[in-house]
């Protein structure tokens, strides 16, 4: 994963309460992104590390990269 991923949009989800992170991300991906584009979601929620992959699986999108940290970054690629 050394190759730089082209990021098309970034979302700040820090400090949002349950269940807004997934709601916001899924809305954005569905309504505003093109297939193939990548969204970076920044979150402080530990739960996101299980919730985002589960969401990606049901919605048919892909998490191409996760940068873990105080603020974690999820690189989400829209597949359909």
């Amino acid at each position: 994963m050394s190759e730089e991923i082209k990021v098309d949009a970034t979302m700040d989800l820090k400090g949002l309460k349950c269940p807004l992170p997934i709601v916001r991300v899924s809305k954005k991906v569905k309504d505003e992104m093109q297939v193939g584009q990548v969204l970076v979601a920044e979150t402080t929620d530990p739960g996101a590390h299980a919730d985002f992959p589960a969401w990606a699986k049901t919605s048919g999108n892909e998490i191409v990269k996760v940068e873990k940290g105080d603020v974690s970054k999820f690189y989400i690629k829209k597949l359909k």
């Binding site: 269940p19 402080t44 929620d45 699986k57």
Partner: protein
């Protein structure tokens, strides 16, 4: 609307015809006593936002397909056919109702409008007009339950980072084991939420009390219930039940999430372990002397908002008051309170929807109630309530602070 769709929807209605549903559908005398029980009606005084107005939106359709009076004499009870317009109204009725059941207290028969709305919600699923947000959330939660194995490691590693925060707060020498997971033999399984606050503060409290506990992989909240899908609701709730049985815990402790508490505690029948709210557990620790708080640490005026699902629908009234009583010197009750407390407007999955203006309007009565106490700090014990109280606060520009009860306790522990 074509025949097939009507068939799908009426079949779904039929599948929800439980005993209580049968009573509630037939026995309303339309006396109007519940009329102004609903916080939504207080903020937006329209008939369709009254409890009986919502219920009648459903009943009119129901009568048309399930009762002789509606079939043969539709005018008698204003029975109406299913069409897109009717389903639009059903959606407005169901997804403006938080299921707070304040109307149930004020109905001479105890009709549970929130429960009636579960039928309405199921009809919307059949009509494919259920709120997309809730469908996604429920499906993700189900998926998480199915393939938890894939997500465990990612979650565990971030929880490891949280342990350092807990260590700092507790002043311990090592972070290891401060947030145990998969801890067979623990007596308590704790189900939190996605946010760090719902894990860190309870972790501080559990460690301070020397509890033998384990953090659940699953978030407590149940989007299946918000969506109104009984099967998903059951599946999502069972994820935690299974985990609790696997670990052999004696007690399942639910985070500050009213819905999760009510479902796990009151809607699943008998379980082989006890279900408690974190609020009850904190109260117990305090009374048993397992934790101590800085008595009277907070002198500004404080009020407590009874989350509907924890209070009138869950039975937890006095515990939070005892906890606050130890910490605060100027506690002020809202009027009314306890089982008569007004809903803040955040329940029923409504905070997940794109409806901020509506939620500010329907929060008017809560604004008025809080203002009347003069409190500067509003404490509550439900994630949805905190979100909604924050929305009300910014919507009306209120000069108050909203806090979780666990946060208040964790910040004022005597270690």
């Amino acid at each position: 609307m074509n025949r097939e769709k009507i068939g799908t929807i009426t079949d779904l209605m039929k599948s929800r015809l439980t005993k209580p549903m049968q009573y509630y559908l037939d026995l309303c005398t339309r006396c109007g006593l519940c009329y102004d029980s609903c916080h939504v009606y207080y903020g937006i005084p329209k008939r369709e936002y009254t409890p009986v107005g919502r219920a009648e939106t459903l009943r009119r359709i129901f009568r048309k397909y399930f009762r002789p009076s509606g079939r043969f004499f539709p005018y008698w009870g204003e029975a109406r056919e299913l069409d897109d317009r009717a389903m639009e109204e059903v959606r407005e009725a169901a997804f403006s109702c938080t299921g707070c059941r304040r109307c149930m207290v004020n109905c001479p028969f105890g009709i549970d409008t929130g429960y009636l709305m579960t039928m309405a919600k199921l009809m919307l699923i059949g009509n494919e007009t259920a709120p997309e947000e809730l469908v996604i959330l429920a499906d993700s939660a189900v998926e998480k339950g199915k393939s938890i194995g894939e997500f465990k490691e990612g979650f565990k590693s971030v929880v490891g980072d949280l342990e350092k925060i807990v260590q700092e707060k507790l002043g311990r020498s090592s972070p290891d084991g401060l947030i145990p997971m998969d801890n067979g033999g623990a007596s308590v399984l704790y189900a939190g939420l996605a946010g760090a606050h719902s894990i860190v503060n309870p972790a501080v409290i559990f460690n301070a009390a020397g509890e033998s506990w384990s953090l659940s992989f699953f978030e407590a909240v149940n989007f299946g219930a918000f969506l109104g899908d009984p099967e998903k609701m059951q599946f999502i709730a069972n994820r935690i039940v299974k985990e609790a049985i696997q670990l052999g815990v004696k007690e399942l402790v639910i985070t500050e999430c009213g819905t999760a508490y009510r479902i796990q505690r009151h809607m699943l029948g008998t379980l082989p372990f006890k279900v408690s709210s974190i609020v009850e557990v904190i109260d117990r620790y305090l009374r048993e002397g397992r934790i101590k708080v800085k008595a009277g640490a907070i002198s500004e005026p404080v009020t407590y908002h009874d989350p509907c699902q924890l209070g009138r629908n869950g039975g937890v009234f006095e515990e939070p008051r005892r906890i606050i009583g130890e910490l605060c010197t100027d506690f002020r009750e809202m009027t009314p309170n306890r089982e008569h407390n007004w809903c803040c407007g955040g329940g029923g999955g409504l905070v997940a929807l794109d409806n901020e203006k509506f939620r500010v309007q329907s929060g008017l009565v809560k604004r008025d109630q809080i203002s009347a106490t003069g409190a500067k700090l509003v404490v509550t014990a439900c994630e949805n309530c905190v979100s909604q109280l924050d929305t009300i606060k910014s919507g009306y520009g209120m000069d108050v602070e909203v806090k979780y009860l666990t946060e208040l306790v964790a910040d004022n522990l005597l270690l």
